[in-house]
Amino acid sequence: MADTDNKEKSNLQPSRRSFLNTIWAALGILAALELIFMVFTYLGRKKPGAQKEQSERLIDAGIIDKYPVGSVTANIMGKFYLCRMEDGGFIALSSKCTHLGCTVPWDDKGKRFICPCHGSSFDISGAVISSPAPRPLDMYPVHIENNTIIVDTGKLLKRNEFLKTQLVYTKKVSK
């Protein structure tokens, strides 16, 4: 048959046909890669609403006097907790557990956040008291202007440990 003849020939020296076949195969692979790239780019598109507007991101949490020392207040709109430490410092904690993303409620009796999903617990500063959570609760930047607290919920800050510098104070530190 002609086919086997061709094969025998191509074993001896690369024919024009085998060269063209290689080109075809390469073009085919290239086309497939383009298709895969296009599909994934299409699926990975930014969904509407993923990026919040500036006015939605900045949440006015009211004046500082609303928050007594050692208190934890849930902010429903921004899905965060505004915590005021014993020394008067503020921190805004994300309500999502750093383990798998469940919403952690504040237990006022035990003075800790307890995750209902896997039992991780965090203290008032967000630091891990018991695992499996691998790091402290994430936080949002807090700004205090004219005794009013503003939380930027557009910027989630991850951290590996709790540091004093993460707390925000008013200009005049009350003693």
Partner: protein, 426 residues
């Protein structure tokens, strides 16, 4: 004409030994019946279901309360889906324990693993669709696990969620996967799976040493067909009875601001959630599953010393060593669950060391040590050959996994603390 149609799917003559119920328990056939029921009821549900967060839960309530036979159709879909997982897993165990994954069935074993993953994905994507508290938080937890996969984790998570959190895009992605992508994949892989069975000459049976093979041959119609139809009818009857008596659960509408206590993954993923309680997530969702998957993928390509095809548990020694592995795995995993409940974890005992080491590497090292001791004892006591050794390791791994799964489903209550099952309800 009917006869010739059936003979397109079945050989004309089959080995009589393949027809014995205790050879296969009809599990593959049952799985196929369930797939048909699921396609059909799923199609009916699709006429009413709306994949939007504001409407999904209401449309489920509408199907349940206002559509004639709506609750019944949904119950059949629910029960068939849960049965399919159990039956597929049992089918997987049957194939393993009768050495039916040995060559030339290696490729089909891998196709089968693919189908197992498809069945799990089907169930998982379907789990979110009712958009109640149970499904919302189960999916939050499970997609949260993806974050710990190195390099691609973040990307995978945002691809499955369609954003940073579970929300409207997640629901539409899961709906598309559940009703188009996965059915398509299944329609391609299932016939491939069946064709490979035919290609290998039917199901795996022990070799006939003396006498001629023809002696065992019987006609597929009626002998095989009759058995298949009976199995299918009994299964369908069972599903219908369950669907009449027990309703598929419908919880409260999903509330992203409130995690119910406890929040659990779907029951078939509870083994993973239980591992997550004990070990750093990087090991629980990445290292351990990858090791198990590689183990399953290389199984057919190991060189086996004896031909144990079609023989349950290989041999007498195989049975004993498998039972030994099962008991040891059961005891060890119960010890792990109980000690972890009552002693402080390693991260609390060793502050200052990164959690990846204290909660990840150290427990993994202990696990590897326990496995080494198990392997040493196994070989000391039973002196198994390679077939039996592989079987014992398989039994060990899956006994741990199933013990963890049962602990997670029935022994974990509020804040995932250990409780007795009878105190769990309510």
């Amino acid at each position: 004409m009917n006869k010739s149609l059936i003979l397109h799917f079945r050989p004309k003559m089959v080995d009589a030994r393949a027809l014995r119920f205790s050879m296969t328990f009809g599990l593959g056939g049952m799985a196929l019946v369930l797939v048909f029921i699921l396609f059909f009821t799923g199609l009916l549900l699709k006429f009413y279901y709306l994949p939007f967060p504001e409407k999904a839960h209401d449309s489920i309530l509408y199907i349940r309360n206002s559509v004639l036979f709506g609750a019944f159709i949904r119950n059949i879909h629910f029960w068939s889906a849960n049965f399919l997982i159990v039956i597929t897993f049992l089918h997987f165990l049957r194939v393993f324990f009768t050495s039916a994954f040995h060559q030339p069935r290696g490729v089909n074993w891998i196709i089968g693993l693919g189908l197992l993953i498809i069945v799990l994905s089907f169930n998982f994507t379907g789990y979110l669709l009712p958009w109640d508290q149970l499904s919302f938080w189960a999916v939050t937890i499970c997609t949260g696990m993806l974050e710990y996969i190195p390099l691609t984790g973040k990307w995978l998570q945002s691809m499955t969620r369609g954003g940073l959190e579970v929300g409207a895009p997640t629901l539409s992605i899961f709906f598309a996967a559940h009703t188009a992508l996965l059915p398509g994949a299944m329609i391609i892989l299932l016939p491939f799976h069946f064709w490979r069975v035919r290609k290998a000459g039917g199901i795996a049976l022990s070799e006939i040493i003396d006498g001629d093979k023809e002696k065992y041959r019987v006609k597929a119609i009626p002998y095989l067909l009759l058995r298949e139809v009976v199995t299918a009818l009994v299964l369908i009857a069972l599903i219908l009875i369950l669907s009449i008596i027990f309703d598929a659960p419908t919880g409260d509408k999903a509330n992203p601001g409130l995690s119910p206590n406890p929040s659990k993954a779907p029951w078939y993923f509870m083994g993973f959630q239980e591992i997550l309680l004990h070990i750093h997530p990087f090991f629980a969702v990445c290292i351990i599953p990858v090791i198990i998957l590689i183990f399953l993928l290389v199984l057919p390509f190991i060189k086996y010393v004896s031909n144990s095809k079609g023989v349950w548990f290989i041999s007498g020694r195989g049975k004993k060593s498998a039972f030994f592995s099962f008991i040891l795995a059961l005891v060890l995993s119960i010890i792990v669950v109980i000690t972890d409940e009552f002693i402080p974890d390693f991260s609390a005992m060793l502050p200052g060391i990164p959690m990846l080491v204290s909660n990840g590497l150290i427990p993994c090292f202990i696990m590897a040590l326990a496995f080494a001791i198990f392997y040493f004892l196994l070989n000391k006591i039973y002196r198994p050959d390679r077939n039996e050794n592989v079987q014992a390791v398989f039994v060990f791994i899956f006994s741990v996994f199933i013990t963890f799964m049962i602990t997670g489903i029935w022994f974990r209550g509020s804040s995932m603390k250990l409780v007795w099952p009878w105190l769990l309800a309510g």
